[in-house]
Symmetry: C2
Subunit: 369 residues, 2 copies
Amino acid sequence: MIRFAVEARDGAARAGRLHTPRGEVATPVFMPVGTAATVKAMTPEELIGLGAQIVLANTYHLHLRPGEAIIQRLGGLHRFMGWPRPILTDSGGYQLFSLAKTVRVTEEGARFQSHLDGTALFIGPEEAVAIQEALGADIMMCLDHLVSLPRPEAELAEAVARTTRWAERCLAARRGPGALFGIVQGGTSPELRARSAAELTALGFDGYAIGGLSVGEPPAATHAMIAATAPLLPAGKPRYVMGMGEPADLLAAIAAGVDLFDCVLPTRNARNGSLYTRTGKVSIKQARYAADPAPLDPACPCPTCTGYSRAYLRHLFVSNEILAMRLNTHHNLHFYLSLMAAARTAITEGRYAAFRKDFLATYQGGEQR
Amino acid sequence: MIRFAVEARDGAARAGRLHTPRGEVATPVFMPVGTAATVKAMTPEELIGLGAQIVLANTYHLHLRPGEAIIQRLGGLHRFMGWPRPILTDSGGYQLFSLAKTVRVTEEGARFQSHLDGTALFIGPEEAVAIQEALGADIMMCLDHLVSLPRPEAELAEAVARTTRWAERCLAARRGPGALFGIVQGGTSPELRARSAAELTALGFDGYAIGGLSVGEPPAATHAMIAATAPLLPAGKPRYVMGMGEPADLLAAIAAGVDLFDCVLPTRNARNGSLYTRTGKVSIKQARYAADPAPLDPACPCPTCTGYSRAYLRHLFVSNEILAMRLNTHHNLHFYLSLMAAARTAITEGRYAAFRKDFLATYQGGEQR
């Protein structure tokens, strides 16, 4: 089981520490996304070198391929992918609603077809927990009922109610020592968010996620919902905003008291040649970098910036070389992980608001590149 | 300039040492192929960790993209790609004849269109040397006239004559300190090979390649030509068979007295999931490996084999993950580089024939996988 301690507060922002059987995680923390049991383009050794403390893996994808039975037989997900530190697995809910074909959701769960080969499959709350336990996740997520926005209030209310019923079934289905997080739903309705938070808190989870965001609503509504929901969650438990976001989004959520994050943006953007620097994002494919001898970000100590020029990074990218994906991913993850570490330090030193303001001034005001 | 010393002989096989301004190269040596200024999927640090002593880069590809002017402006190819050890560049001859569109070869050189964007370009002997000097190659190759096989004797003879004339122009065009190798042509005609070797030797190069092989002739003919040509080349200069081959091909050529090799096979096969082991090649995508907890090659000390199971390698490959390309390439290059190191040791210890026989017995007699 896990234990969470808040070590410092700065306004609503918290610096915490998550104790797990596989080691400690200092929060706020960004979890690199390892969808298919690999953080794309990276080795576990490189992730550890970057200071990654915990990664996310994907229940839906691993259930489809290679299947949790194989991973369990091979000693669990940590051993399978060579990652010794904690792993959080999502429940598959998001992928069921975004990737799977011909999904039919009933009270029982979700019937769907694999997007890989069309196989008919079923995942309900009990199956979601059983798969995550077979994988050997340190932190598991409840299966939630996700809806895209906007939706009529009545539908949102029913999604909240079903999410609570499924959360109860997930709790009852748990057999092993893995921690289990509930997921707050409720769209952009503060009342429904409050109801969902209250119902899940009453059930009692090891941590709480704020889910069902970035699914069609405007960014301001996302931030408003996070700010409204976070204070309703138990102060002594970790809070997790799923699948978000750009640096400014993370810093806003941290200010609201959120502790855990995951997002495909740094890794996916890296593969698309969009690179994070202190002064904003750089599209490395631009012709202006063709003969540029400078590092991507002269102030960045990562191997990509200390070893290579923008000209070389551009050449690799336009040549579609695998090394482009590697160097870009390494850099972007370094950026996200460093940002979280700096945010944590700022919180412990009681200067988070100034840190956030300064970062954004440089990041958003940087030379337009 | 370079200097070459034969340190041990075992039959016709040689263990040598190539002294270059960027360090020594112990031969026989395999040069990983870094076509576009990157050995696909690998970092320079990893190559050095594998004991790679020299890499090959591609004049044709780098001329097209990013262009030698940019690389020269950025401090040369070594600095551009972050590789501190020697680099051999091919002349572009092979790519002109295999990749470029609408090639028209005259005595002057080759007019062609870029396979990337159709730009009309020209490379003659002088241009080939100028490009390689701009790149800063430690070893440059003459532009040769390559023909696919079979061909009428008269055409082969004319290709040999033109290759000699072009080699003379390459020598005259050299301005810098880079070493220059001549390339023996002559198809599968021992007489033409002998004539080509004699003409090039008379001109006097820093080393000699045996080119125009593996272009349509049967493998036995390839080996026969290498065995017939190698003894005709100066004993005190390095001998290089270009673009070959499988492990058995390399061992046969070493027995004939060849010192340098390059080939895309280990890296390209890696990306296709074909992996070299002591007991033969493994196609890692096969279903039989889906739950196999064993390392790819239990006797192999490379990071791929010490860190991961066949099941994980298969999963990564069928999931088309970048990490599959990385781990597979790392392993295959380890295999090739280790094989060359073992061959060198066997030569210095006077047991090369037995080494080759034992290796092939295990490799070709291995469990059919």
